[in-house]
Amino acid sequence: MSWWERVFRRRTLNDELSEELNGHIEEKIEQLMRLENLSHAEARQAVLRAFGNPGLIATRSREVWQWPRLESFLADLRLALRRLRKSPGFALIVLLTLAIGIGANTAVFSVVNSVLLKPLPYPESDRLVSLWLQAPGAGIADFSEGLLMSPSMDLAFSEHNRSFQSMGIWSQRIANVTGLAQPEQVQSILVSDGVLQTLQISPLLGRWFSQQDQDPRGAKTIILSYGYWQRRFAGDRTVIGRSIQVDSQAREIVGVMPRGLRVVDHDFDVFIPLAPDRTNLDGPPFGFYGIGRLKPGVTIAQADADISNLLPLWMSLWPQGHYFAIWRITPTFRPLKKQVIGQVGSVLWVVMATVGLVMLLASMNVANLLLVRADSRHQELSIRASLGAGRARIARELLTESLLLGLLGGAFSIVVSYGGLRLLKSLGPAELPRLSEVALDYRSLLFTLLLSVFSALLFGSLPAIKHAYARASDALSRSTRTMSSSRTRNRSRNVLVVAQVAMALVLLISSALMIRTFLALRAVNPGFSDPAHVQTLRTAIPTSMVPDATMVTHIENDLTDRIAAIPDVAAVGFAAAMPLDGIDADWNQFQVEGKTYDVTRPQMYLFDYVSPGYFSALGIRLVAGRDFNWTDNYGLRHKVIVSESFARETWGSAANAIGKHAHESNRNPWDEVIGVVADVHQHGVDEKAPAIIYWPVLMYIPYIEKPTLGAERGVTFVIRTRRAGTETFLSQVRQAVNAINPNLPIAGVRTMQEVYSQSLARQSFTLVMLGIAGSMALALGIIGIYGVIAYAIVQRTREIGIRMALGAPRSGVKWMFVRSALTLAGAGIAIGLLAAAGLVQLMKTILFGIRPLDPVTFTAVPVILVAAAAFASYLPAARAAAVNPVDALKTE
């Protein structure tokens, strides 16, 4: 028999087989009639008894030319499809639930996978480390992440270490590119020798920087990023060897880096050699990110120990270097990946757990629907069981249906997750690192498949187990019209509802904690006011364009005046660093007159350099004294303004501070405190407001022995106007800048409100995710309770009728059902409270101003859930109580 015969001649073969079997029976009957003298009827009965089940024999025989397992699976699948087509409403609800549930999970998994799980996109990236140090003796409590590297450290470490294959330091800087059409601000990265070698990304064109490029007196060179090369040079391969003007300095293009290269998750337009001056080294500035590639087999602990031993060598590189011994510098290197991921890991895991819980909840609702559906087939299934269908066979059929639902839902979910990721990328939350790497790859699709199958098994196993183990006799007798339903019938659905309530409770508690966190953060006075009406923008005047410091301040002063003349501008000023933008202008000591200081324990304070008008533009309250004026700047009068907390701590009150003296160190003259301003949460409202010392923008640089003037060259302008953020206003600002110097670029155009919102992005993202999940959970929980109670009422209509006929009051009947719902909710809440108490510990790092086990939240949310359960059960219960006992007993 060929395969096509087996497939296409199936009907004929089946007919022939049954004819043959019938023939056999007939022959046997005749034989019996002949031999034993029986009547035809008696003989037939005897033969059939001896013969067994002809249907079974036919089935067994047919299996010879079939693939039996596949065939019965296909039959189940056909049946399941047919049943789904017959109930499109059910199919739609289940598939939609699954598509959204699985899709959301796949989308979040793709993000978790790309951001947290996948290695960084560099060769052998597990050997890359981020070079951070700790300096407990430096007195900088606000260095929350640690001490950055300095060029002298890089030279000392990279030349003498034994643990690193290569290492280097880098920092970002805004550079002005002129000479190519419009002047442009570009993101540049200053790299020391070793950074590109450490990343091991070969250039697309040209070469890496060499030792010669790092010579401050050598030829000036530059490497372009792929994006900038495409944007400005349209991918012209002859750019190598050409020159561009960067910060008014001609630089020869020596290479182009490949597409998609990011340095520690930052995009850069151009790479510029750091070129440190070896003849004039000092300890600071500690403003460079260090990265290194460990030699194979070297651990981070070994590298830490290695660099620790090099610190004395570093301190001997320049005179008085051993001052830094009191800083007690210790290396605390960490994997580069940890540096890139930052704090977003905890948020992502919370989100993943959240959508996972919602998926479980959704699965349970689907299980509930399937249970009801299978119950309606109870009699059919029981009859089949009593006719000899095995448990496994019935369970398999029910599971096939669930599996079909799961896989169909999974297929639709790909659309949902794809759309979700597209949306996420277009929103481009700045808080999310490695966003450009997020994609729906094979791992995500595998995850979808596994989740589909897993959830299908999850929601399918309950009805399957329940019906496979149902005793046939039981079922057949139970569904007669004289009996009400038994307790066991509803047990599995009750378990589901308890679990749903428990999970809903966990999600609601998490979102309530997040809401309280957000409210607490919003309640923090950031120190500045009405941020929606403050426009901010950055500009920079490089030394190569204007060498003289006083001139720089004059230009900035002119610009301030021009902007102030724009209609509706209430106030304008600028500063080296503004609140929440992640830049610290400076850190140094600040010693008050009349106090003695322990030289071994220097105390460092955050410095900022601000123009006259900066405080009023940002709405930072002047608590005492006065603001700077331009005469303070140009006259180089030694004036200083301090923040309120510093004034209180040092002199008892803000008013007392005015007229007092302080300075950076003994070699600097005294500065007079002329004003005290309100505390500003410079680093974000979730961090304590630091003490800040404000200086004029033009002053003698305090670190250098020979009096040298310094101006702030890269500054952020803050403009208070009710037209902040409008296009017309921005074009007026651009005109003002152009009128001063057409080569001045403008960047970072944002309103203060945007800056503020962005600083809360992590919390608001978590809040939105948990809020959506929490409300979905509540809705699913209510539907679950409603479904169980409504179904129980339908099953017990006769019982209700009898109770009421015997005199039960309507309220009693109502209460009976509400009570059962409250019992279930109570059990769920008890379990949920325990689970929540454990799970909220995961959220510790995201919460603010509230403890994870917040008593208000842990009381209010259960109360809400109890109310919801009462509401969900009251609706069907009221309907049950309205039943007319006569009708109830008559029906069915």
Binding site: E20, L21, G23, H24, E27, Q31, G52, L56, I57, R60
Partner: protein, 115 residues
């Protein structure tokens, strides 16, 4: 009716092949009846085993079938041995005889044979 034993596991195929070899083309009922007769009515052929086996043998090519008319003028499928079936019968007969001889030797064995 005396208690009949079922056909021992695995031997029904051999019996079917031998029956067809001896008696030529037969239908299913005929095969069952002949096997019972040859065994002196000591064996009962289970139809639930016979028909799947016939289809399996046909599927393997050891037997072939044609529709014909039975002694009682009923349309019936007649099975006959193919060339491959005859070969299979020979090898299986050989195998069976060897097995039987070995088993017989075990039954004949006595303790002194082992010393």
């Amino acid at each position: 009716m005396a208690e009949k034993s079922d056909v021992p596991q695995g031997t029904l195929a051999l019996m079917v092949l031998k029956t067809l070899d001896l008696l030529g083309p037969l239908h299913g009922f005929g095969i069952a009846r002949r096997i019972e007769q040859i065994s002196g009515d000591a064996l009962a052929v289970n139809q639930g085993t016979l028909y799947p086996l016939l289809l399996k043998l046909e599927h393997e090519g050891a037997i072939a079938s044609d529709w014909g008319t039975s002694e009682n003028n009923r349309r019936a499928r007649f099975y006959r041995l193919t060339r491959a079936g005859r070969k299979q019968l020979q090898t299986e007969t050989g195998d069976w005889e060897r097995t039987a001889a070995i088993v017989a030797r075990f039954f004949a064995a006595r303790t002194e044979d082992w010393s």
